[in-house]
Symmetry: C2
Subunit: 488 residues, 2 copies
């Protein structure tokens, strides 16, 4: 006879108590597969609840796979797998694993382990993270946009979207790009699962294993594991103080078969450098001459907060050789994973097929909500606020470095975005120990070598103001300066 005593004061619903007690008895073996349970009527009487309460508990237990029953028959405990759920098989196996999964994959993508780091402890000044500060995120606006998408678009908002993306968002993004001088129509825009997936699609379209691409040195750190996955070799083109060295690139394009040139003209990651109009024109003309596609990463296009904006290379792309990658993640809501590619129609058709074959389409509801966020005026209001915050943070950082850094160290002065780049007089080999010592001093920064395929002779550090409060910056610079002084 199954006896279940309910705890009336627990605040947990009666049906849930019954459900969890029976599940527990199945799991600890008190009830065995095939054992009959009392009828819902009988159990209801003994437990002192209404019969519908027991019916609900039994229904959920059936849905959870604990119970079996056919109409008209008794409810019984279901026969489960031959392995109890509590066995941790990895211990049983020891060294006798049947398959060596490591052997099936290529060289390690992250030789030093994945670089993903959670938010820093509260006593640490975090100059490392590069993502829109989640503490500035306009969550109330987002909630309203999600509600409006679910109410306004109904079932379509939770159904599959077309492979190229949610049409209203594609139209909205084409309007925004036009405001940046980029004349693309909605059907030249593909919505992706963030900029990283956009770059993956581009590599799938343009490269084969063994190919070479030209990248800035330093460049976006997460590009390197992606290139390793594709078995594509980066040919590094040095960054000068005004952007990638066009003469070196010209020579590279003459002497190697380069599938595309990857560049970040605005607020370059990691250096923070923004190229000028003349540099962009020279770069475009050079690639047009060689028929080499440019992949322009406009990941922080909206993050200009000092001086005048320079228009994207894509804005001058008469010949259709530029694939422009954009993202929301570096402006707001990184966790929503909304990115896009603007590309000539012929490339768009190919990219859309690859997108459809590899993940069907991007998230519909999020696209519908982000479209509302971009068109409602919420985004502009947020941008004004964010620009103010980031401008002050960057000013605080520049002033702090000026005050506290020992001589012999130089750094860039970005016109927007989040990062700047310290060049140290020490050899690159000290970076790891330096990062370690800074971490002990309560400052988190990113090591320069992470952004190179072949690190240069001297050490660098990337500092980001993305996720550090203005009030913390002065103290962070002081700690940074103290540590660096010990090294010089």
């Amino acid at each position: 006879m199954l006896l279940i005593e309910l705890d009336r004061r627990s605040g947990k619903a009666a049906y849930a108590q019954i459900r969890d007690r029976i599940a527990g008895m199945v799991e600890d073996g008190t009830l065995q597969p095939g054992d009959r349970l009392p009828s819902s009527r009988t159990l209801a009487v003994s437990a002192g609840v209404h019969r519908t309460t027991v019916v609900r508990a039994y229904d959920e237990l059936r849905a959870l796979g604990y119970l079996d029953s056919r109409s008209g028959a008794y409810t019984t405990v279901r026969r489960r797998a031959r392995l109890p759920a509590t066995v941790d098989r990895s211990e049983d196996r020891g060294d006798g694993t049947l398959l060596d999964w490591h052997r099936t994959s290529a060289s390690p993508l992250f030789p030093d382990g994945p670089p993903f780091t959670a938010a820093a402890a509260s006593d640490v000044t975090d100059f490392e993270r590069l993502a829109a500060d989640p503490s500035l995120a306009p969550e109330t606006d987002l909630r309203r946009c999600l509600r409006s998408a679910l109410a306004g678009d109904g079932p379509a908002a939770v159904d599959y979207a077309a492979p190229a993306g949610w049409p209203p968002l594609r139209a909205t993004l084409s309007r925004r790009l036009r405001a940046h001088g980029v004349a693309v129509s909605a059907d030249e825009i593909l919505i992706t699962h963030g900029a990283q997936q956009a770059l993956d699609l581009v590599l799938r379209l343009l490269t084969r294993p063994g190919d070479q691409v030209a990248v800035e040195a330093p460049t976006y750190g997460m590009l390197h594991p992606l290139l390793r996955l594709h078995d594509v070799t980066p040919v590094e083109v040095a960054m000068g103080t005004d952007g990638l060295d066009i003469d070196i690139l010209s020579s590279t394009l003459q002497h190697a078969r380069i599938r595309f040139v990857y560049t970040m003209p605005n607020f370059h990651n990691p250096t923070g450098i923004t190229t000028d109009q003349a540099h962009r024109e020279r770069l475009l003309a050079l690639c047009e001459r060689h028929g080499t596609p440019i992949v322009e990463d406009g990941f922080e296009e909206e993050m200009k907060y000092f001086g005048r904006a320079v228009l994207p290379v894509k804005s001058m792309d008469i010949c259709g050789i530029v694939l422009y990658v954009g993202t929301l993640s570096k402006v707001v809501f990184p966790g929503l994973r909304v990115g896009w590619i603007a590309a000539p129609r012929e490339a768009m058709d190919q990219l859309t097929c690859i997108q459809h074959a590899t993940c069907l389409a991007a998230n519909t509801l999020v696209q519908a909500a982000v479209d509302r966020f971009l068109t409602s005026g919420d985004f502009e209001a947020y941008l004004r606020r964010a620009h103010r915050v980031y401008r002050r943070r960057m000013q605080a950082l520049l002033a702090g470095l000026e005050r506290h850094l020992p001589s012999g160290i130089v750094w860039t002065r970005p016109a927007g975005g989040y990062t700047l780049w310290l060049s140290l007089p020490q050899p690159v080999a000290v970076e790891a120990a330096l990062i370690e010592e800074l971490s002990e001093a309560g400052v988190r920064v990113a090591p320069g070598s992470w952004y190179f395929a072949s690190p240069p002779p001297l050490a660098h550090l990337r500092l980001s103001i993305a996720c550090v409060e203005e009030a913390r910056i002065e103290e962070g610079c002081q700690r940074l300066g103290e540590t660096l002084r010990r090294w010089t």
Copy 2:
């Protein structure tokens, strides 16, 4: 002098009217780059609005890139790209396109064009679509879960998630899988952007160009373009009435280097066949003997609505050779793109690195909301309702086919899921014309050849009850029967 007359009765906010009028003047050339705009005070007086209204309009125009201004200076029209936004460059280019994007990609992924189809017109009986019916989606529950995620998890809900997924959702899915007899812990689960992306990750882990994998014939139609993208050849193993033919598979594993076996033991797509316990044990033992991984697609694990459930192959996987792929999309909310892989830890480490390198991580907010949906009881309540609806639709379809189909046609009788499989006595070549004629008769079905790499001699059709109302099924069967009778 800039004159703006407002339409007080238009219902459009005054600042938005000013914004759009000035944007229009920039676009049509009335205002030229460098032109000075009146001060906000002057324009406010002439337009008869408060000054803050003009300030807001100017702010948005700056954010949109129409205007320039530096503190203390006049507001001017911004210099824009050398191409006006209205030029459609594809016409200018004609045949002179600099790059042939088609040449850069491999053989076409979708030789007949992408198969994505929008919802059918209201007078069409849609036996084609296979996705949880969006009209059944519990949108109110989802809205509450989204609100709760934003309120409860705060900024973390819109920040990047860890590459393997949102920890609470991984824990919740491990509990659900245990209820299906699958003993995996949270750290053996990777959250993906839907099942399609999960399969893409698996192919990236286990295959190299030129490799072979064993697939059921017929199998999931969208697997074939994905295999083409990876340059992986499918070795087809015929489906019998009880599942894939184990003897043929055994011979295949002996004679070819097979990287993995892809199988759908429950409600197989397209046939609707569910294999029994003995079949699963034979399949697992065979693959253990050969050291060949099994990729088990449990895409409709929760869709059992007739009879007893059979436990997944993964539930018996003592040796750790099964990668289990699951998804929410075929149960509820296809547009949310939530899928997962349950795999041995060694494989999980590799898959997580690939996930991180190719798209950083899945959508955080959606993961946090789905976790609440799965744990709140909402999901069980939805499943009960959905099972009732789909069971009745499947019963109506089986009864309708019995009544209306001419003799010589046979079909499967699924124990759950959405699809069943018609085998016709006509040669496979008639499929296209037949689909066309059915479409004219107002019935949409999927052609059998879509599910094969090498179509068999005879024609097949896949019928799905996923998105067709019960009341439409009888008439759909009648139209289907009438058309098919003309062909026999």
